[in-house]
Symmetry: D2
Subunit: 332 residues, 4 copies
C-alpha cells in the first residue's frame, strides 16, 4: 500500500482526493491537514464522508511526513509552494503532487506577473514536472505540478494542432461550474447571482492560457474567453479553428494521439455533452468539420479530470501502477 497524505485537505480538491484515495486499491490515507479543522473528524469539513473514514484532521504544524510515500498539496495558489518548501525543509523524501499553480510555470517571471506575488520557492520550480499524464508521462522526477482545470481541457484539445500544423488560430470559449472557485463564498458564487446567469471573466487574460502556451509552438496562437455558468461541476469548451489546409485530417490526428489512452474518450463528428464527463475521470473530446471550419469541443469534471483524478493518474504513474488504477471500476 502507498501511504498517502493530503496537506490542506479541507477544501473541495481535498474532499475529492479523499474520496478517490478511499476507493483506491493500493493507497492508504494516513493524514489530512487543516488549520481550521485541526483535531476534528474529517467529516466535520466534509459531512458527506461521514461513516467512511475515522481520520481526524492534523494540524499542519504537527504533521509528521516521515513514513509517507506521497503527499498531495491542496493549498490555494501562492501557498502550495510554501507548503512544499516546508515539508522538504522538514526532511521529507517522498513524492509530491502539488495541486496549485505554483510549480506549473517554468518561467518564474510569468508566474509572478500573473499572480502578482514573489514566488516563494523559485529554486524548486525546475524539480517539478508538468503533470499532463497523456502527453508528458513518464516524468523525470517525483515532483509533479498538477495541471489547471481549463488548462487540461484546452491542452488536450489543441495538441493535435500543435503536432500537425505550422500555423493556426484557436478561438476558445470555455465555461465552468462554481466549484472551480473553491470552497470560500464569493460574490460571483453567491447563489442569487450565479443561478441562471452566464458571466465572462479574465477575458483574454486567464492564467491557464499562458500555462498551456508553454507547451505549444508559436505558430499556434490561442485566445480564450473563460466563462462562469450556473452549475456546480464541470467545464465545457469550444475551440474554433479556421483556415487550415486540410481540416478533415483532424479526426486522424486525434485518433493517432489518444486512441490508446483509456481516460480520454473521443466523440467523432459531435461535441460531447458536459454531463457525460461530470463525476468521471475522463476528458471527453469531439469535433465537427464543415466548410473548412473546425470546432473542437471538450468536457471534463473540473474537480476530477481538472484536479483530483488527474492527480491520482499522476500518483499511479509515479508509483508504477496502471494509470487508471482506482479510477475506473474495471481498473483495480
Amino acid at each position: 500500500m502507498i501511504r498517502v497524505a493530503i496537506l490542506h485537505g479541507s477544501g473541495y480538491v481535498g474532499r475529492e482526493l479523499i474520496q478517490l484515495i478511499l476507493r483506491h486499491p493500493h493507497a492508504l490515507l494516513t493524514a489530512v491537514t487543516s488549520r481550521t479543522y485541526a483535531h476534528s473528524p474529517v467529516y466535520k469539513a466534509h459531512p458527506a464522508l461521514r461513516g467512511q473514514l475515522d481520520l481526524c484532521f492534523t494540524n499542519v504544524s504537527e504533521f509528521d511526513a516521515s513514513d509517507i510515500d506521497l503527499i498531495f498539496v491542496a493549498a490555494e495558489h501562492g501557498k502550495g509552494a510554501a507548503a512544499v518548501k516546508a515539508i522538504l525543509n522538514g526532511g521529507y523524501s517522498g513524492s509530491i503532487i502539488d495541486m496549485s499553480s505554483d510549480f506549473r510555470f517554468k518561467d518564474i517571471s510569468t508566474f509572478e506577473s500573473l499572480f502578482k506575488v514573489n514566488h516563494p520557492a523559485p529554486e524548486l520550480v525546475t524539480d517539478f514536472s508538468y503533470g499532463q499524464p497523456e502527453l508528458f508521462a513518464p516524468y523525470s522526477g517525483k515532483y509533479i505540478a498538477n495541471p489547471g482545470c481549463f488548462a487540461t481541457g484546452m491542452l488536450l484539445a489543441s495538441w493535435p494542432l500543435h503536432l500537425n500544423c505550422d500555423q493556426a488560430h484557436v478561438a476558445i470559449t470555455a465555461i465552468t461550474g462554481a466549484s472551480g472557485s473553491g470552497i470560500r463564498p464569493k460574490p460571483t458564487t453567491h447563489y442569487p447571482e450565479r443561478d441562471g446567469n452566464v458571466r465572462a471573466y479574465k477575458v483574454f487574460k486567464h492564467q491557464h492560457l499562458p500555462e498551456i502556451s508553454q507547451f505549444i509552438h508559436e505558430g499556434i496562437t490561442l485566445s480564450m474567453v473563460p466563462v462562469s455558468g450556473p452549475w456546480t461541476r464541470g467545464i465545457w469548451g469550444t475551440l474554433h479553428i479556421s483556415a487550415l489546409e486540410n481540416p478533415s485530417q483532424i479526426a486522424d490526428w486525434f485518433k493517432s494521439i489518444y486512441d490508446h489512452h483509456q481516460l480520454i474518450r473521443l466523440w467523432p463528428d459531435m461535441l460531447p455533452e458536459l454531463k457525460y464527463a461530470v463525476g468521471s475521470p475522463y476528458c471527453d473530446i469531439g469535433w465537427i468539420v464543415r466548410d473548412g471550419h473546425i470546432v473542437i469541443g471538450f468536457a471534463i469534471d473540473n474537480m476530477l479530470r481538472g484536479a483530483a483524478s488527474q492527480a491520482i493518474q499522476n500518483m499511479n504513474i509515479i508509483m508504477d501502477l496502471p494509470v487508471e488504477t482506482g479510477l475506473l471500476p474495471s481498473a483495480t
Copy 2:
C-alpha cells in the same frame, strides 16, 4: 406624485423597491442612499437597471429628507431602527416604511432576546403599525413595520384558524430561495453548497414565528421548520392541521376572509405551485382536506409579497391609493 426615497438601497430589497417605484404611476423616486456606492449611478449596484434611471446613490450623511413624502428603510435587521431614529431626529415629518424586523415586535424583550441586541429605539416601537395590509389596514399612523417574508405567508395562511378555532396545532414546513439571505455571500448561499441541496435551519426557532404569534390567540399553537432550497426567489410552505372538528369548513373561512382581496389568490382543493407566485405581488393560498386532516399551502415571492411589493401596498394604503396601484397591469 408621491416623492419617495429609499435608505440603504444597494441590496436586493432596495433593487426590488426601485423597480416597483419606477413602474408606479403616482410615485417618484427622488433619492436612494448607500454608503458603499455613494455618488455612483444606481446601476453600478444594480446593473440590470442600467438605462432605466439616471439617479446616483446619495451618501446617507448627505441625504436631505426635507421634501420627501415617504421613506422606505431597507437596512439590515438591527440597523433599521437606528436609521429611522436618525431621520426623525433630523426633523423628517413624512411617512416611513421600515423593511427590517426592528419595529415588528411590540414586546421589546422578545426582539432583544431573538436578535441578541439592545433595541436602538424602543421608544418608537409603539408608533409603528405591523403592516399586514389585508389583515390590519387601515393603519393608525404613518409608520409601518413591513412584515417578514415567512411571516407573511404563515400569518395569511393560518388566519382562518385564529378567527374560527379555539384550539389547533399547526405544523409548518416552509422552504425559501437564496435571495432571502440578502446580497452578502454566505457559506449557505455558496453555489456549490446550495445547488441541489435542501437544508433546514433555525428549526423551531425562527424569528418569524414569534413575529406572527403576537397576533394569533394562544389556543392556536404553531411549530415551524424553515428550510433553504436551491432556487433564487420564492417561499413555498405547508401547514398541517389535524383534529379539527369540521375541517371542511376551512374553504368557507378562507373565502370569507380573502375573496375581496385582489392580491391574495385562493386555490381551493389544491396547493399552489411556487412559480405562479414568483415575480408577482400575490400571496397564493390553497388547501386540501382528507380524512379529517388539512394541509394548507402558500406561495409568495419573498422579495415582492415578502418584502417590496407588500411595502408598496402599504405605501398605497397610507397615501389613500387603491392598494394594488402600480402592482398589477390593470391597476394604474
Copy 3:
C-alpha cells in the same frame, strides 16, 4: 387603443405577449386563440396570469378578426404561414406580426431545405418585412416576420462588421436556456438531462445562421455553435474575430450604430452578464480587444428581446408609437 389578438397563444411566446400587452398603455387584448384550451380561461394555460385578465381562449375556427388592428401569430414554425393565410383569406385587413420562421427567408428554397417542408404560402413572403427594429425600421408594409432569438443577438452583434469591414470571419458560440425549446417536453428539456448539463446541437447548421446571412455581405463569413444550457431564460453568446486591420475601431462602430437606440445597451471593454438582460427588452452588447483579437458578447432574454418584446417594438413602430412604449417603466 390598439385592438390586438394573439393566434395560438397557449405557448410560452403567447404568455409573454399577453403579459406585455396587459402592461401596454395603448393596446387592448381582445382575443387569444388555442385549440387545446378553447373556451377555458387564459389562466388555465398560464396559471401565473390568474387574476390579471378575464379572457377565455377562443377556438381558432371561431376567431373573428373583423375589428382587430393587429394580430400576433405565435404558431410553431411551419404553422405560422398557414395561420396567416387563413386570416387573410378570411378578409382580415389589419397588421400582422408573425413569430415563426415562416416569413423570415426571402429565398423560399432556403426555407424549404432548412425546414424540410413545402412553404404553405410562398406568395406572401415578399409582403413581409424582416422585423429587426433597430436595423430595418421603418418597414415598407404592415406585415412583419419577427426575428429568431439567436438571430437577433447575432445580427445586432455582427452588424458593425458588415458595415465596416470587407472581410472577416466570425466564430460564434451561443448558449440558450430551455424556454427556447417551447412548451412541449422533449428529451433535451427533461430536467434530469438538462440540469447541470451543456450540450451543442445543430452545430454549423442552425437555421438562425442563414436567417441573418441574408443581410450580411459575403465577405463576412460566420460559423455558429448553438448550445443548450441549464437555465430557463436567456441567450448569451461570444463572437470571436481575428485578423482585422484596426480592431479597436469596433468601439466607435458600435457607438455610432446603437448609441441612440434605447433598447440596446452597450458595455464597452467588458462582456455583459446574462442576468442583466433576462426579464428585460434589452439587447446587451459588449466587446473586448486585445492583441489584435476581438471578442464580442451579447445577452438577451430569448422570450422577450428574442421574441415577444421585440414584437411589441414592431407593433409600436407599425402603430407610430415610440418604439419603447410599454417596454420600459419610463416609456408610457
Copy 4:
C-alpha cells in the same frame, strides 16, 4: 462471482444498477435487456458509461436466463410483474429483485385500486418479501420487492414510533428531485416548468403511504404531502409529531434501532442536509425536539437508497455477503 442480469435496463434505475454492479467486487453483469436499444452498446442509452463496459443490450425476447444467479427487474410499475412472470415461466430458478411497485403490496386489491390495473401475477405476490434491509432482513425467500423511494425514507424515519408508541399522528412533507419521475419527459419535468418551482402532487394520496402503512400499526396515523423540487437527485422530508408523552425518548429509540446499521446515519439534534446523502447509499435521519414537538428529517438519494443501492443491499443479503459490499469504499 454472482452472475447478474438487468431486465429493462435502459432507464435511470437501470443505469444506476449497472454502475453499482460494475463496481461490485463479487458481481458480474452478464446481460441488460431493452426493447428500444436491443443490440446497441449499453453506452448508447447511457453515454456516461462509455468506455466502462462492452456489453450490448439484449432484446427481451432473446434473453437467456439459464446461467444467471440474480435478476434485477427495472420495468415500470405495472410491467414488473409481467416481466417476472415471463422469466419464471421460462424456467428461471435464480433470485429476483423487482424494482417496481408490483410485489410490494400484500393486499392485491390495494394495489389494483392504487394503480387502476388488474394485477398481472397475483399468485406470485406472497412469494415476494418486502425488501427493507435494516428492518426485515433476513428474508424468507429469494424474491424481493424493492421498496419505493419515499417509502424507504418514511418507513425508516417513523419506525421508532411504530415500535414504541401506541398512538401518534405523523404529518409528512417530503420533496423529491426530478429523476424520481423516470427517463421519459413529462410536463412536470420540462425544464422551464421545474426550474425554480415547487409543486405538490398526489397530496394525501401517494401510493408510497399505503406501501408503508402495511407495516405500521393502526395507532400511528400518517398523512403525506409529496412535493416536486427543482433538482435532479434526492428526497428530503420532514415528519412532524406532536402530543407524545415523552418526546425526548426519540433519540434513544433511533439509536437502539439503527446504531449498528452502517448504511443509516443518525444526526441527533439536527436535520440532515440533502446533499450529504446524494450520491451515497445512506439513509440520513435526524431529529429535533422542542416544547413537546418533534420533527424528524430524512434524506436519501432516490436513485440509490431509494432504488439501486438498496437493491444491491438486498442482493448482498440474499447472497450472504456483508450488506455494504460494493457500496462503501471500505467494504469490498
